[in-house]
């Protein structure tokens, strides 16, 4: 089974802080993704990566950046956290395009 592990289940940070969310997958998948889930809005794509050091913006990249230095690890960075970034963050990995994505359990991030 594919395992996607997100470093924290719950996180509380203050406005203006730099926040790092980490994600690791164990299946040598090419593609990795960061989404946020908000009530009534479904899952929205923030960034994705199709290879080491490669990244593409999703639908809502503003206020975020990402890093993929190793194939198995994809990090989401909130450069200066704001209260509107309080959300559930979900990481996913995918063997290749047009295949199912496999999700981690999510990080519930609260920005105070």
């Amino acid at each position: 089974d594919v395992k996607v592990t997100q470093s924290s289940r719950y996180l509380v940070k203050r406005t203006g802080e730099k926040v790092f969310l980490e994600c690791v997958q164990d299946m040598d998948h090419e593609n990795m993704f960061w989404y946020r889930q908000d009530p009534g809005l479904g899952l929205r794509l923030i960034y994705f990566s199709y290879d080491v050091k490669m990244k593409e913006k999703g639908d809502i990249p503003e206020g975020y950046s990402v890093s993929r230095e190793k194939k198995e690890r994809f990090s989401l960075i909130l450069e200066s956290a704001s209260t509107n970034q309080t959300s559930m963050y979900l990481c996913a990995s995918q063997y290749r395009g047009n295949q199912p994505q496999h999700f981690g359990d999510g990080t519930r991030l609260s920005i105070l």
């Binding site: 996607v4 289940r9 593609n31 993704f33 989404y35 009534g40 809005l41 479904g42 899952l43 929205r44 794509l45 994705f48 199709y50 593409e56 999703g58 979900l90 996913a92 995918q94 395009g97 047009n98 199912p100 994505q101 496999h102 999700f103 981690g104 359990d105 999510g106 519930r108």
Partner: protein, 112 residues
């Protein structure tokens, strides 16, 4: 503009009956669709998919039907069980075939 739409935010069904979850899409170029199930505080889990060359795909109690002319797909769960209570997301890969475009989800409640 939403390319994948789930117009019913919620659905309530009695145990043993059929649950039908609906999804509409606007982009006729979509050729692969997925359904995910999500419990609270967990990541989405891949449930079932269908390619546009088929009009039906079945896996145990779950069947997905695709009507390309109507740009509509549906997920049937028969018989419904209380453990099926979750949020169900319909999704389709973007034109690059990489990122998924999700609907906003339908919350299914199955009562015993």
């Amino acid at each position: 503009d939403q390319q994948v739409k789930q117009n019913s935010p919620s659905l309530s069904v009695q145990e043993g009956r059929i649950s039908i979850l609906n999804c509409d899409y606007t982009n006729s170029m979509f050729d692969y669709f997925l359904w995910y199930k999500k419990y609270p505080a967990e990541g989405p889990t891949f449930l079932i998919s269908i390619s546009s060359i088929k009009d039906k795909n079945e896996d145990g109690r779950f069947t997905v039907f695709l009507n390309k002319s109507a740009k509509h797909l549906s997920l049937h769960i028969v018989p419904s069980q209380p453990g099926d209570s979750a949020v169900y997301f319909c999704a389709a890969p973007d034109q690059a075939g990489t990122a998924l475009i999700f609907g906003k989800g339908t919350t299914l409640s199955v009562s015993s």
